[in-house]
Symmetry: C2
Subunit: 344 residues, 2 copies
DNA sequence: GTGAAAGCGCTAACAC
DNA sequence: GTGTTAGCGCTTTCAC
């Protein structure tokens, strides 16, 4: 703990009067080294507060022991919970995590992917992504960096999902059964939620309800300070013939809807039914409690990270591994934000 | 985009029939290189999808272009907002972020700090930390890795804060002015919130109100699936003589308090006043809306990252830099979760 | 304008 | 049990 600036293994070796390989051996507890020598080296390492440079280690070992997490927006607690699950499996294994927020920007997403590969991340967890550039993803997954998707499907890439399509079909059907026919759909970028959007359209069609383009809103906002659900709700509720129900892509956006209804002095569910997706812990605390579709975020993170790490190992052993997909069940959580429309 | 496995600069050089230094020159756009040669090399780089190994670059440049973020728990949206602010300043500058969750565990905190230094992070943002091991922090900050604290004070270390002490004094005083004398204080680990705890004690004393140990609760839970505010609230509310008000360390914990009151069929604020800290966006949406103390999380993240990056530059230029502290104002947000106690 | 060579900090054969 | 040496993939003088 004395000298300033960084020590290297060479200096430690000199101070201990041994060669660098001996120091390396005691550092990594491998190879035979005399007990006395070992003690002396360890003593010096301790005194000097020396720690090996992991970049250099990684370079020679061809192993960075890092993975990358690419999420759309860390402000959404759903992603935070996933990350929590990821970390709980990768940290004990000695992996560190890079965190990247795409801000729902497709270019940022690919850009981060490339950067993480350059930084020699051994794997990447692509969470709720847009996937425009499948070619890139496949190329990376084949060559440099294993990739696993969470809440996203890509052909040929391992993933963990819930059954979005079924989950959303159920939700929309339930709204229709309650008597709603004017149902809006709010999301960030349709490319990031194909299945849910498809489910929305299909269920309306199946029930003979026309699809009204004005009821479908996307947000391409990147402004951190406002919940995009708010402005989309304002927009859709100010239509001449506003919807009686809103299916929000996720709970986070639904919070923005709640805020909009307060400002407009609209009551949920009397004037407007609202449904979320994710079932964040806070959602059941809202008044009225939010009707939503439950997803096990933490477990999804764990599962995704496990898949990823297995893929990394297989690749290192050149052991071929079949593609696999982990599917979790969703649960429809009917609470107090849904009711028949007033007209009935 | 053809060959599998990773390309190196040597292979590119061979394919282009030039030396590695020339390839390096075109890669980094520095030094003079013939336009034709340049074009040819770039063409090959493109065809092969080659990208330089940043670990190797970092090793020779002595620059990793990474910073570490050490937060207690990413599930708390307050930290997520800070991270958002950090990222918005460091990403454009070419820095990547490592993310570490200490889970409110002091040992994990120091362990991560050391690991991040080994991984050659150029700096670390220590957010809401416990700081038992100041020696370690100073040593790292002096030698290997610049450190800046957010929502934490350490002697000799740059930091960004709000005036916690004043903020909490005001809040407790307000509760007392409303007529409360049995006020509980819920937190995670007292070491992580010395100022607030001190403010709580001092304000009670100043008003001649005895400090009741049973009203002070810490949580050392690491269980991700339950909000510790919940169990602490249950405990404190089942006391023979329960408090009439709860000051929660932060909004996140206050959500757990809300849940507990629902189960116990207690009404806020009639039966219990609740105050948070942070003013998360969701807090104003709760019913009753949560009274709390506002902190500008995003801006704090930005400011912290700016300080950190300036410190990194100064250190590289061996330019001495005085310690500095950025202080943001808090705002007391009185909403609907506070009222006079029923007894009055 | 371009190449040869040294070296960033470390590990891992391979000798002894 | 320990040391020597050749790299890992890259940048950067320094010659030419």
């Amino acid at each position: 703990m004395k000298k300033s600036g960084k020590m290297t293994i060479v200096q430690i070796a000199e101070m201990a009067g041994v060669s660098v390989s001996t120091v390396s051996r005691v550092l990594n507890h491998k190879g035979n080294v005399d007990a006395d020598t070992c003690a002396r080296v360890e003593q010096i390492i301790f005194e000097q507060g020396y720690a090996p440079n992991r970049l250099a280690q990684g370079l020679v070992r061809q192993r960075s022991k890092t993975i990358a997490l690419i999420v759309p927006d860390i402000s959404n607690p759903f992603f935070a919970d996933i990350i929590h699950g990821v970390e709980d499996v990768c940290t004990p294994l000695g992996y560190s995590m890079y965190l990247c927020n795409s801000n729902f920007d497709h270019d940022r997403e690919s850009h981060f992917l490339v950067e993480m590969a350059e930084r020699q991340a051994e794997g990447a967890l692509l969470i709720s992504a847009f996937l425009q550039n499948q070619e890139l993803i496949h190329q990376l997954n084949r060559n440099s960096m294993s990739i696993v998707c969470i809440q996203t499907q890509i052909e040929g890439i391992d993933c963990v999902n819930t059954d979005d399509y079924a989950g959303l079909c159920h939700s929309i059907q339930r709204l229709i059964d309650l008597g709603h026919r004017r149902i809006a759909f709010l999301c960030m970028d349709k490319r990031g939620c194909r299945m849910r959007f498809q489910a929305y359209c299909d269920t309306l069609k199946k029930n003979g309800i026309p699809i009204v383009p004005e009821y479908i809103r996307e947000s391409v906002e990147t402004n951190h300070s406002e919940n995009p659900g708010y402005s989309m709700a304002r927009a859709v509720l100010s239509l001449p013939c506003p919807p009686t129900a809103i299916q929000s892509l996720n709970d986070h956006l639904a919070f923005g809807v709640y805020r909009a209804t307060q400002e407009l002095h609209l009551r949920i569910p009397q004037d407007l039914s609202v449904v979320g997706y994710d079932d964040l812990p806070i959602s059941s605390l809202l008044r009225p409690a939010l009707t939503t579709i439950h997803q096990p975020a933490y477990s999804m993170g764990e599962a995704g990270c496990e898949l990823l790490i297995k893929n990394i190992s297989s690749k290192r052993n050149a052991a071929p591994r079949e593609r696999r997909e982990v599917l979790f069940a969703t649960r429809y959580m009917e609470r107090d934000s849904t009711a028949p429309p007033r007209e009935l």
